[in-house]
């Protein structure tokens, strides 16, 4: 399934390259230059994150030192523990977790149902609905921020977690990924289940969904990554502190300059780490998912 994870075999015959081998397969200056550029770029990609993590262990005094120190004097967790107690950090964290998980579950449920209808049934308006779904990829939330907010406000969902969860749950990309995957499920399997007398919904839950696990995993992971980091919509809907998610709390506190910087850094690390850990675990699915759809 994953083209990207297959390592290409060396494109030439003959023995494998080693430092001592001569002739065509010696290490050329091009190879050296390539490694230098790659390593430099890797450092550029990582330094800000390493700097952030290192900073999260430094005391306020260390942070204001000139010139800045590279490593923290001690590896104490005091910034983290202080952040936990100084403000409603735990509540922001809980909100972020609830919104991310609930939104992802909702997306999986409704997207997979819609994808199933679009992949395995013939009905009037099918192509039109599919095209409409795809076309809205061009209408990002940023563009319809005010009218969506009006809908949410008129439904009384401002300052509620539902207001954060529901509006963006019907993702076009999720429908697309799942539909493409479901097209590959043989119709005979569904027919066979029908002959056995299973109801349509039962077939969907018992036969189709279990077969879609890889695609569901991709949609779930992409949704988690996006929801966890999402900012503009939560910023608009979560106006009172009790519904802040982590990014909203971080941005507001930074702008207000009322919270000490060492606590902001600790909070940032907590915001960043879960997604990186998730990525390290599900790297292959994420890479394939993005390579195949080209869409976050």
């Amino acid at each position: 399934m994953s083209r990207t994870t297959v390592t290409k075999s060396p494109p030439k015959m003959g023995p494998a390259k080693t430092w001592t081998s001569t002739g065509r397969s010696k290490i050329t200056s091009t190879d050296a230059l390539r490694v230098v550029i790659l390593v430099t770029s890797a450092l550029l990609a990582l330094i800000p994150i390493v700097w952030l993590v290192l900073g999260s262990f430094k005391t306020p005094a260390e942070l204001s030192e000139r010139p800045p120190t590279l490593l923290p004097e001690t590896w104490g967790l005091s910034n983290y523990t202080e952040a936990m107690t100084r403000f409603n950090f735990v509540s922001y964290l809980t909100n972020s977790v609830i919104v991310t998980l609930a939104a992802t579950l909702l997306t999986l449920a409704i997207n997979s149902m819609a994808a199933y209808a679009l992949a395995k049934y013939n009905f009037r308006g099918k192509n039109g609905l599919f095209l409409l779904t795809l076309a809205t990829i061009m209408i990002p939330l940023q563009v319809i921020l005010l009218p969506v907010y009006q809908v949410v406000a008129s439904l009384g969902m401002v300052n509620t977690l539902w207001g954060l969860i529901i509006p963006a749950a019907a993702t076009p990309t999720g429908v697309f990924i799942l539909r493409q995957y479901m097209l590959s499920i043989p119709d005979e399997l569904i027919e066979a289940a029908r002959v056995d007398g299973a109801g349509e919904f039962r077939i969907f839950v018992r036969v189709v969904l279990p077969m879609c696990r890889p695609a569901l995993a991709v949609v779930a992971i992409l949704s988690i990554m996006w929801r966890w980091n999402d900012f503009l919509w939560p910023l608009v809907v979560a106006q009172s502190e009790s519904v802040y998610t982590l990014p909203v709390a971080l941005a507001r506190f930074t702008a207000e300059e009322t919270v000490p910087f060492n606590l902001i850094i600790a909070m940032s690390v907590v915001t960043v780490l879960p997604v990186i850990i998730l990525f390290l675990f599900f790297q292959r699915q994420i890479v394939t998912g993005i390579a195949n759809t080209g869409i976050k």
């Binding site: 770029s41 990609a45 503009l232 941005a251």
Partner: protein, 302 residues
């Protein structure tokens, strides 16, 4: 009754219940989709004809909002910032993305490692990314100026100077997203049949020559995808700028989404102006996506 008419009858009769099934499956998704995307998208045009200072009571303006922002110098400044950002971002994303993808593709040892490392900034919360870079680019005590200072380079006013701040915003935006585009391009590279290179090598084509006359043309479809996505992302940029520069200094890095957000939600609220701005942004994204596809189509046909 022939067998044929029998099945036809059954087909006509059985679906009565069956015919509803697909619509029921679609219903939850399409309901949310309709209420929170399609209807607002249509209503957006409507709202842009009204003005409001609190988001509750509205006054009819007709084309007044458009007239107001199109003759507003500040708005044109924001349009200019947005275009400068989006263009540079798309260009940098393609150039750096192709470069990284080609390098990673050719690297045999540690390919997966580099691919992952370049992708990590994509995963970072944009709010945190802006925050960290702001901290590192601090004028007097930031990591970067300290490092440059040790090389004898004088303090650089990264986030204080208007033009430099824009350069920083473009750089950080690319830093955050280029790993994502690299993945798409890498997948494109790996779908190129290796035998075309075999032929080129036999002909004695240099690596650069191979890149220009083989890799680049064969990579066009992936590049097109990157251009389309980067254009949409470029015009949407907001979150990391919020914590990186806050749109400053004096509006030098304020882009259109921040303009919409601030006019719509931060007092003094100018709802009509914000929604007129949204409609213009929508037209820009829509128009550019179409243009990008058409250019891509033409290239493919040629």
């Amino acid at each position: 009754m022939t067998a044929q008419t029998a099945t036809r009858l059954r087909q006509r009769k059985a679906p009565l219940k069956m015919r509803l099934v697909p619509y029921l499956f679609l219903l939850p998704n399409m309901a949310i989709f309709g209420v929170f995307t399609v209807w607002p998208a249509i209503n957006g045009f409507n709202i842009s004809m009204y003005s409001s200072s609190n988001g509750r009571t509205f006054r009819w303006e007709g084309a007044g909002n458009y007239q107001r922002i199109l003759t507003d110098e500040d708005f044109w400044g924001i349009v200019r910032n947005t275009v400068v950002y989006a263009l540079s971002f798309v260009l940098l994303s393609v150039v750096v993305g192709v470069m990284l993808a080609v390098l990673v593709d050719q690297q045999r040892r540690g390919r997966t490692f580099f691919r992952s490392v370049f992708f990590i900034p994509v995963l970072i919360s944009p709010v945190v990314a802006g925050l960290v870079w702001n901290w590192m680019l601090e004028r007097q005590n930031g990591l970067i100026n300290t490092f440059l200072g040790s090389l004898g380079i004088p303090e650089i006013p990264w986030l204080v100077d208007n033009n430099l701040a824009m350069v920083v915003v473009i750089g950080v935006g690319t830093w955050m997203q280029v790993g994502f585009y690299m993945l798409i391009l890498l997948a494109g590279l790996q779908s190129i049949d290796p035998s075309v290179y075999e032929a080129a090598r036999i002909d004695g084509a240099s690596r650069w020559r191979q890149f220009i006359s083989l890799t680049f043309p064969l990579l066009q479809p992936s590049i097109l995808v990157v251009v389309v996505l980067a254009t949409i992302h470029g015009f949407q940029a907001f979150d990391f700028i919020y914590t990186l520069t806050g749109g400053g200094p004096v509006g030098a890095t304020t882009l259109i989404v921040q303009f919409i957000y601030e006019n719509g939600f931060v007092s003094p609220i100018r709802y009509g102006v914000a929604s007129a701005g949204s409609v213009l942004l929508f037209c820009a994204i829509f128009g550019l996506t179409i243009v990008n596809w058409m250019i891509g189509r033409k290239r493919e046909a040629a």
